[in-house]
Each structure stands twice: as C-alpha cells, then as structure tokens.
C-alpha cells in the first residue's frame, strides 16, 4: 500500500512513500480519502479540479490536502480518487494541480466516516526523491 495510517492520541496520521513527488502527493491524497471513508464505497459521481500553491514543499502538501478538506465541507462530498497530479516548482514557488472524483456524502451509504478537519504541520516531513531513495511524507490530520 502506498500509504500507511498510524495512530495518534487524539487524531490520525499517514506515512507515504512513492517514487516521485507527483505520486507522493497523489498517494497522500488517497491516504486522506481512505482515512475519511473507512470501509465505505465512494462512487466517482462528481469531478473536481484541485490546485494549491506555497513557498515550501511541506506547506504545499498541507495546502493541497486542505483543499480536499475544504471541498468536503463546503460541497458536502466524500472523495474517491485523484489523477493527473502534477507538482512543479518555479523561482521558489511550488504549485500542484490534480483531478479528483467524489460523491455527495450520504449518511446511508457512507456511515461512520471520520471527519478530518485540517492537515497539521506537527512533526510533518516531506522529502523529495534523492539518490535512489523514494519521496516520503509523514503528517497528522486534525480530527
């Protein structure tokens, strides 16, 4: 599995490992979606284009994942998957874009979803791939 969910006293976190930054960001998003939906099935009913910018790579990952958390609340959806994730850096400014599929939240179809409310920077690390080592990320969500 490209991400691993770990325990935390009041909240929940993920460890992610991937061969590239694009895939790292994609798998981090998938980790968030899995934490939220649990065992529920989410169908690809709706489509979103998501983007974020930041001055650093770890802030970019926070902003990227927080976009999904914002849409979850503002649009009332549960996310299924991401694709076409592209991370870029130009002149010290980082950006990411992605396509995502989701479904309107339903108490009947999606019972027991975990309400993730924010991505925190506590103990956070984001490492690009270097010298044959994969890209890695470690982060905790506020629940």
């Amino acid at each position: 599995m490209p991400f691993h969910v770990f325990e935390h006293t009041a909240d929940i976190g993920i460890d992610v490992e991937a061969p590239s930054l694009d895939e790292l960001f994609a798998d981090a998003a998938r980790g968030l979606f899995a934490v939220v939906r649990g065992e529920n099935v989410v169908d690809p009913v709706g489509f979103f284009q998501v983007g974020a910018k930041a001055q650093s790579l770890d802030r970019l990952l926070v902003n990227f994942l927080d976009e999904f958390i914002f849409l979850q609340d503002a649009e009332g959806v549960v996310f299924r998957d991401v694709s076409e994730v592209r991370v870029a850096e130009k002149g010290g400014e980082w950006s990411v874009s992605a396509n995502a599929t989701a479904e309107p939240f339903s108490h009947e179809k999606h019972p027991g979803c975990l309400h993730v409310k924010a991505t925190t920077r506590h103990a956070m690390s984001v490492e690009p791939p270097t010298g044959g080592e994969p890209a890695r990320a470690h982060l905790i969500f506020d629940v």
Binding site: F70, A74, H110, P111, L114, T120
Partner: protein
C-alpha cells in the same frame, strides 16, 4: 511515543514545575519562564506518557510570555501547544499564536438545567435521543437545518448568540448566562477568508462529530449545596443537559489560514521558533490584529451554534414530554469556551497588566466578586463545566480565587484522551459499547458504531482525578457531579 523524561519538581500542592533552565529534548530550548503543570502523582505517569510536558516547555520560549507556561490536569499532546495549556503574553510586547487556541475556535460547553428528575424521563429515553438525533445535525456531512448564504453570515459572526436569539432560537436570558454575554467584541468578518465562510454556511446549527456530543445527565452528587443552589441544582437525580461543540469547519479554516500567514511572515517579524506549530505574530502587528478579529468571528459563530442547539434541545423535550420548556425550567446555567485567546487584565507581581490569555483545552475560571461573573453567581464564582466521557461522571465546578493567582483565572476543560482513536476502535466494539452503556442505564445514539467506540470511557483519563487535582491546587472547587442518562453524538 517514548515517555517524557524531563525534570518535573513538585513546588506546591498539586503544582509541578519544569525549571526554566531546562534545555529541551534537543538541548537548544531557551525557556523565558518556568513550566507549571497542575496535577497529582496519580496523573503524572499519564502526562509523561505522551510528551505533552515538552510542549509546555516549548511554549515557555514564546516572546513576551508572562509568569509561567501552564498546563491543566487534563493535559495531553496537541499541535505546538498542549491541549490543556494556558499561556499569557504581554498585550504590547508579546505574541498571539493560533496554536494556543486550537483549530476548533470556541470549542466549548453549554449546561442547561431542568426541574425534571430522572424518573420523569423513565420510558422516554429512546424517543428523546431519537428526536434529538433527528433535530440536531451531527456527524460528517451534517448540514445545519438553517440554510444561510455566505452573505448572511454577518449576523452570527458579529452578534453570536444574540443573533440566534433575535432570529428566534432560545431566550434572551440565555445570553446573560454566557461567557462574554454570548458575543465577543472585536469580530470582523472581512478578516475571514471566502473558504472559511463557505465552510461556515452549511454547518451553522450542527453538533459535528469526533468528541462532540449532547448528553442528558442527572445529578449524581451535590458537593457544594450553596453554590449548587445558586447554579440551579438542589437535589439528586435532577436532570441537566450538557452540549459540547464549537465553530465546526469555520474555526478550523480560520486557524489554518492564519497559521499559513503567520509562518510566511515569521522572518519579517524576526521570530525564531523551536516548533513551527507555535507560529505566532507580535501582538502589535497587523497579522495578529487580523487573526484576533477573525478568531472573534469564530468565537461568535460557536456561541450562535450552541444557542441554536439549545433551542432544538428544548423543543425536543417539549415534543417528547408534552410540556413547555419554560415549565420544565430549562434555563441555561452557563456557556463557556475552552479554546480561546482573550485580552484580560491580571495582577502580575503586584502590577496590573494587559495580557492575551491563550486557553487551549482550558476554561476561564474566575472566582467570587469578579465583575465578569454573571450577577446571580457573583457571590459564588463562575461556573466551570467539565465533561467526562460517555458512561463516566461530568462535573460542574466553581471558579476559585486561587485561579487568578496561579493560572490567570483558568482551569481544566475535560478528561483528556488517553488512547488513540485507532486503539479505542480496536479495544471496544461499538455495538458492545452501546449494550454496556444500556446495562448502566445510559442510552447512546451515535452516527456510527466506530465513532462510538472512539469515545469509549476507557479512552479518556480519570475525570474524577482531574477535578481533584484542580481543587487541590485551588483553581476550581467541585459543586455538582453528574451521571449520564443519554448521549447523542456524530
């Protein structure tokens, strides 16, 4: 998580100190004041288990921090600041930090009294929870019953509970029994992002999920007859309702927005932090002023939220029991915040000083005669509402004069988690928990069995010991112990 092995010395009854010369786990910490944890021997092992004490020490390094970096007996690990932490900074020379408030701005408690006794609810428990669950949105995706557009949010953001009462939710008397009268001055919706407003609009008037709940309780023990009478409780088994919720996704977005802004501007302010989650700005800066104004908007949103839920609680009782809420004496005892930063004046070494008092998982606890305590309670002290967890006791306490000397008028907010959500889900099966609680005569209705398991009583610290520690330190005194009758949660 490895146990914390830093220095902790008992300096007074239930007060333990991290000395100011402690250098931290990395050896590069520079504390400006000592750390002080209100606790007992019995709670210390739990405190050492999750590194929260290191966070108390880290907070002591903040510019302009005054007195001590404080922690209440229910302390546990948080983001930057520990949950259960109190930090006062100089209003001119110090900093303001969103991490010292928490993501859920004005997460807090409402306590409602009634003239009912437990026997009046016999046979009605299931219908009560069903109607409450029907009428009060909770859980992920829970949308408020009230459809507000973003442009309609000025009302709740500026006027808080007063907006809700004017809109027909509850009684005017409610706001006279709320911290800040249910509306804090200084809110400015223009300092709130479009994203935060879009998260707010669908969620106003909803309970949320996680550890948020509505609990119908009965008086288990009256521990201070005079204070209990002043607060509206006179006999065992008298029914009360506690509501625990906050500013929902709105507060979270405000916190996230300003954490990003403060991080980006840290170099400009010349602030170097031991932990990036302590992101802060000088209290005199535009950044801090804007955060404070946005945070006040979230404070008011949460007050409005709890006011609306109070109204629907009353209507549920009316529907099930067939009597008007007024005839059942369903008055608000008090409503207070446990995630907030407030400008307050305190005596520090004989001088009156203006401070920003950050309370994250900590409540205000003003003693008798303080002008901010509602008039009916002024001879007794401010009510302090401390929920336990499902199946365990909750408490109503009174603020004590010792709190002003020791903790900038602050006390504990609850039991504090002991186990992660994953461990709780592994340890307890939700269906079994519902049955166990039923055997204890407690009716639980949760949005999911997994969510119920996460909030199992064993996942939390010992609330009785937390309350005892606060009493030993002289910051609050117990007035009423409540036992649960029924719970709804998301």
């Amino acid at each position: 998580m490895p146990a914390w092995t830093g220095p902790l010395e008992r300096v007074a009854e239930a007060v333990w100190e991290i000395p100011q010369d402690y250098k931290g786990q990395r050896g590069d910490l520079s504390m400006r004041v000592p750390g002080r944890i209100i606790t007992t021997e019995r709670l210390i092992e739990g405190i050492r288990a999750d590194n929260a004490a290191e966070q108390v020490a880290n907070v002591a390094s903040l510019p302009g921090i005054v007195g001590a970096s404080l922690a209440m007996p229910d302390i546990h690990w948080g983001y930057g600041f520990p949950v259960g932490g109190v930090a006062a900074t100089d209003a001119d020379e110090g900093v303001i930090s969103p991490g010292g408030v928490g993501f859920d701005i004005n997460c807090g408690m409402r306590l409602i009294r009634t003239d009912l006794t437990r026997s009046d609810l016999k046979g009605h428990e299931k219908r009560l929870v069903d109607v409450l669950f029907r009428d009060i949105p909770c859980g992920l995706g829970s949308k408020g019953r009230v459809r507000l557009n973003v442009k309609d949010l000025d009302g709740p953001l500026l006027e808080g509970a007063r907006w809700a009462v004017a809109a027909g939710y509850g009684w005017e008397d409610d706001t006279r029994h709320m911290e800040e009268g249910g509306r804090i001055a200084g809110a400015d919706p223009s300092k709130v992002s479009e994203k935060a407003l879009k998260r707010a609009a669908p969620q106003i008037g909803s309970l949320g999920s996680g550890n948020h709940f509505l609990e119908i309780q009965r008086v288990g023990k009256i521990l201070d007859k005079e204070a209990a009478h002043a607060f509206g409780f006179d006999r065992p088994d008298q029914v009360a309702i506690m509501i625990h919720t906050g500013s929902r996704g709105f507060g979270h977005q405000v916190c996230s927005d300003y954490l990003e802004r403060f991080e980006a501007n840290e170099k400009r302010h010349g602030i170097k932090l031991i932990d990036p989650q302590l992101a802060c700005a000088p209290a005199s800066s535009r950044d801090a002023a804007d955060y404070y104004a946005a945070h006040c908007a979230a404070i008011n949103f949460a007050f409005a939220n709890r006011q609306m839920i109070t109204h629907w609680t009353r209507s549920a009782f009316q529907e099930v029991l067939g009597m008007p809420a007024e005839d059942m004496g369903m008055h608000t005892v008090y409503d207070l915040a446990h995630n907030i930063v407030k400008k307050e004046t305190h005596d520090v070494e004989g001088k009156r000083r203006e401070l920003f008092v950050h309370r994250k998982g900590a409540t205000r606890s003003f003693g008798p005669d303080h002008p901010d305590v509602p008039a009916p309670y002024r001879s007794v002290g401010q009510p302090v509402i401390v929920p336990g967890s499902m199946g365990t006791a909750s408490y109503l306490l009174k603020g004590s004069p010792g709190a002003m000397k020791l903790t900038f008028g602050s006390s504990c907010h609850g039991a504090g988690r002991r186990l992660s959500r994953t461990m709780a889900r592994k340890t307890w099966r939700g269906e079994k928990l519902v049955a166990e609680l039923a055997a204890m005569d407690v009716t639980l209705k949760a949005d999911s069995h997994e969510g119920a398991a996460e909030e199992a009583p064993g996942a939390y610290k010992d609330v009785d010991e937390v309350v005892r520690a606060a009493a030993l330190a002289g910051i609050t005194a117990p007035v009423v112990q409540f036992r649960p009758v029924a719970v709804i949660k998301g």
